[in-house]
């Protein structure tokens, strides 16, 4: 009874990750949604269609014929001054990839949810991070959630970050299909009035709405083109500060802060760091808790954003430790895991001593990695180091089908 009252008072709803995304878009009062169905994203746009058709959300839905057109239409709507949203997964994201680049290079604020799923062939609907990783070079702000509450918060914050004049870039928020997308968890929804006040009306660098003649995207000379792209880099670097500010501000207003671009657990006294991104970080944290109980001085660095890449945080948290193990749910074929590669690059950039560092690629194609796997892998890594041996730099940890 008491708990029920508390739930009511705090407006906590049991929501799947996908519905959490839809609720966040609704509370941001998006005006145009253009989307195309794909598993496991579909229930986001189904929910938004329901919101729109029932009159709970004053918006129009463009039920496009492809993902390529989904982001194109979202771009068009955003360009013309509407707060616009779309969502996709996997093949759909690859199909719209041309527009992923176009939207950021045009500096148009847009928010897109990516419900991650393995790329084909073979057909596979289970989640990994490779569709998301594939967008790294496109100039978007890229965040990734660990649970449904965070997914909700990230999507709502994405509008704020995207429309900040220091940024004016599109933002994508990742969440694993099914693991978050279709799993129900309690999600606390803020008050609409407070959200309205905090988010404010739509902001963007320029609007093409016919009120004055404006040409966008005209052929440009190499020097002018490069300057425009240098501005994107500058804006993404500035986005770090904006992300931290928004995270703090959101915490003050709505009661939840996550630590900015990364979340760190037991980092302050850690001699070893395990790093990861996404839902499986929960399992990693569980493993680390167990290891802590057993006396291993290990902490978790969870990437909440990979664009802009949290280089300073990585340098600070990993720069001084004895060893770090980076888990990647995907690989850049022919090389290594992206999170690992960038971690090492940014340690080098910030002139930190690079500790013994291992890259574990796992969970690709949706292979289920449990907390016990993390426990074993992290423990083995630490024990190898403590025994004075060199751990392998790279390992593809695979569990065959039972």
């Amino acid at each position: 009874m008491v708990e029920e009252t508390l739930l009511k008072k705090k407006n906590i709803k049991p929501l799947t990750g996908n519905y959490a995304v839809a609720y966040a878009a609704k509370m941001a009062r998006v005006q145009v949604v253009a989307a195309y169905p794909i598993t496991p994203q579909t229930s986001i746009i189904e929910k938004l269609a329901e919101f729109i058709e029932s009159g709970q959300l004053e918006a129009t839905m463009i039920r496009v014929e492809s993902e390529h057109s989904a982001l194109a239409a979202t771009f068009g709507a955003a360009l013309a001054g509407a707060r616009a949203f779309t969502a996709t997964s996997s093949q759909g994201l690859l199909y719209m990839h041309e527009w992923v680049h176009w939207t950021s290079r045009a500096r148009i604020p847009v928010v897109m949810a990516i419900v991650t799923r393995a790329l084909a062939p073979p057909w596979n609907i289970w989640p990994d991070h490779m569709d998301f990783y594939d967008q790294r070079d496109a100039g978007w702000v890229m965040g990734f959630g660990m649970d449904n509450q965070e997914v909700f918060d990230l999507v709502l914050q994405a509008f704020k970050i995207s429309e900040d004049p220091r940024v004016y870039l599109p933002v994508m928020v990742g969440l694993e299909g099914f693991i978050l997308g279709h799993t129900t968890m309690p999600v606390e929804l803020p008050e609409q009035e407070l959200v309205d006040e905090w988010l404010g009306p739509r902001r963007q660098g320029f609007v093409v709405d016919g009120s004055q003649p404006l040409a966008h995207g005209n052929l440009a000379w190499p020097e002018d083109t490069e300057e425009m792209f240098m501005d994107i880099q500058k804006a993404l670097m500035a986005a770090k500060r904006v992300i931290r500010e928004v995270d703090r501000e959101y915490g003050e207003l709505f009661g939840r802060s996550y630590g900015g671009l990364v979340q760190c657990i037991h980092c302050s006294d850690a001699k070893y760091i395990a790093a990861s991104m996404g839902a499986w970080s929960g399992d990693l944290m569980e493993a680390v808790e167990k290891l802590r109980e057993e006396g291993y001085p290990v902490g978790v660095l969870r990437f909440r954003y990979i664009r802009p890449f949290p280089g300073e945080e990585v340098a600070e948290m990993i720069g001084g430790v004895r060893g770090a193990i980076v888990f990647d749910r995907g690989i850049s074929f022919g090389s290594m895991g992206p999170l690992y590669m960038e971690t090492v690059a940014h340690l080098s950039r910030h002139q930190k001593k690079i500790p013994a560092i291992q890259n574990i690629v796992a969970g690709v194609g949706g292979v289920n990695i449990e907390w016990t796997d993390f426990y074993r892998l992290v423990k083995e890594f630490i024990e190898t180091l403590e025994a004075g041996r060199e751990p392998e730099t790279f390992k593809w940890y695979h569990k065959p089908r039972r």
């Binding site: 005006q31 145009v32 253009a34 918006a59 129009t60 463009i62 039920r63 496009v64 014929e65 492809s66 390529h68 057109s69 989904a70 194109a72 239409a73 979202t74 771009f75 068009g76 709507a77 955003a78 360009l79 013309a80 001054g81 509407a82 616009a84 041309e98 527009w99 176009w102 093409v208 709405d209 016919g210 009120s211 004055q212 003649p213 404006l214 040409a215 966008h216 995207g217 005209n218 052929l219 440009a220 000379w221 002018d224």
Partner: protein
């Protein structure tokens, strides 16, 4: 019944919107058509332009030869972006601005077909203009599905195109959109009247604009209008409107319903270097194709 339409004088503000100094080749049909657009919409239009000659013709940054809004977009996406812009304007209560997708034949009949079909089926309130220069001219004269039979292009260099032109206007009629028209840069009054009608109709409007390209069709740049006119006079290109479920033949094409009044197709072909090596068999095939087009028109009037 043939309807008479008074020839509206084209307003004089055309040069205010379509300014001198664009990057078009001599004899290019694109700025010719834009002047007619500007006569109808003035500055109150947003042209959504996918990769095409027009992406270049408007001029290089920071210059711009059109005093209207221009949005350059990825090749396959004119109709999709135009849909998005229109819906945003509608949500924002802006109704005095015409959203126009302006795409070439490649951006329409080939790579843009899916997004065009989608936007038409959803019946967004926009005008889609396919300016048809019958090949990929911006990349240097490659065959498109809109290239006519027998035409030389750089990707049909020896035997010429072996298929007929794709009839996009008819495909759009099959979508059941409220307005479809064909037009030609040689008849600005006709295009003007069609744009005026289109702007008064709510929903998706499609205009298939025949636009001879001196560079790609291999004729002297001074003859753009002459070639375009010959297309009508030989019956190769038929001007009509489609609305309320019926085809209405447009003024310039009306005399040519009667085959005896048409000029020989050879006159049109021989003006263009791209047909220099066309075989007599292919000319016969073109003639048959033209007859079939007229039959179709007559059946749907």
């Amino acid at each position: 019944m043939a309807q008479s339409r008074p020839r509206p004088p084209l307003p004089y503000n055309m040069r205010e919107v379509v300014q001198p100094g664009d990057a078009a080749c001599p004899g290019c049909p694109i700025p010719m058509a834009w002047k007619v657009l500007s006569a109808v919409f003035g500055e109150k239009m947003i042209l959504v332009i996918p990769a095409s000659c027009s992406s270049v013709v408007v001029g290089a940054y920071p210059g711009n030869s059109l005093k209207a809004s221009v949005v350059h977009v990825a090749f396959a996406s004119a109709a999709a972006v135009a849909s998005g812009i229109r819906e945003a304007l509608r949500m924002r209560g802006i109704n005095d601005v015409q959203v126009i997708a302006w795409a070439g034949d490649g951006g329409t009949a080939d790579i843009g077909m899916a997004s065009l079909s989608g936007a038409a089926e959803r019946n967004h309130d926009i005008i889609y203009i396919m300016y048809d220069n019958e090949a990929y001219m911006n990349t240097g004269i490659q065959r498109s599905s809109s290239t006519p039979l027998g035409a030389w292009t750089t990707t049909t260099p020896i035997i010429g195109k072996t298929e007929h032109k794709k009839d996009v206007a008819r495909i759009m009629i099959a979508h059941g959109v409220p307005y479809v028209a064909t037009a030609s840069v040689a008849y600005p009054h006709d295009l003007y009247a069609k744009l005026q009608r289109a702007r008064r109709i709510r929903g998706f409007k499609f205009i298939h604009l025949h636009a001879p390209c001196p560079v790609g069709w291999r004729f002297d740049p001074r003859y753009t209008v002459r070639v375009a006119k010959l297309a009508i006079e030989t019956g190769m290109w038929i001007l009509y409107e489609y609305y309320d479920g019926k085809i209405r033949l447009s003024g310039p094409s009306r005399p040519y319903m009667d085959p005896s009044r048409r000029k020989p197709i050879e006159e049109y072909l021989k003006m263009q270097g791209r047909f220099k090596k066309i075989t007599p068999e292919k000319i016969e095939e073109i003639k048959k194709y033209v007859e079939q087009n007229w039959d179709w028109i007559k059946r749907h009037m």
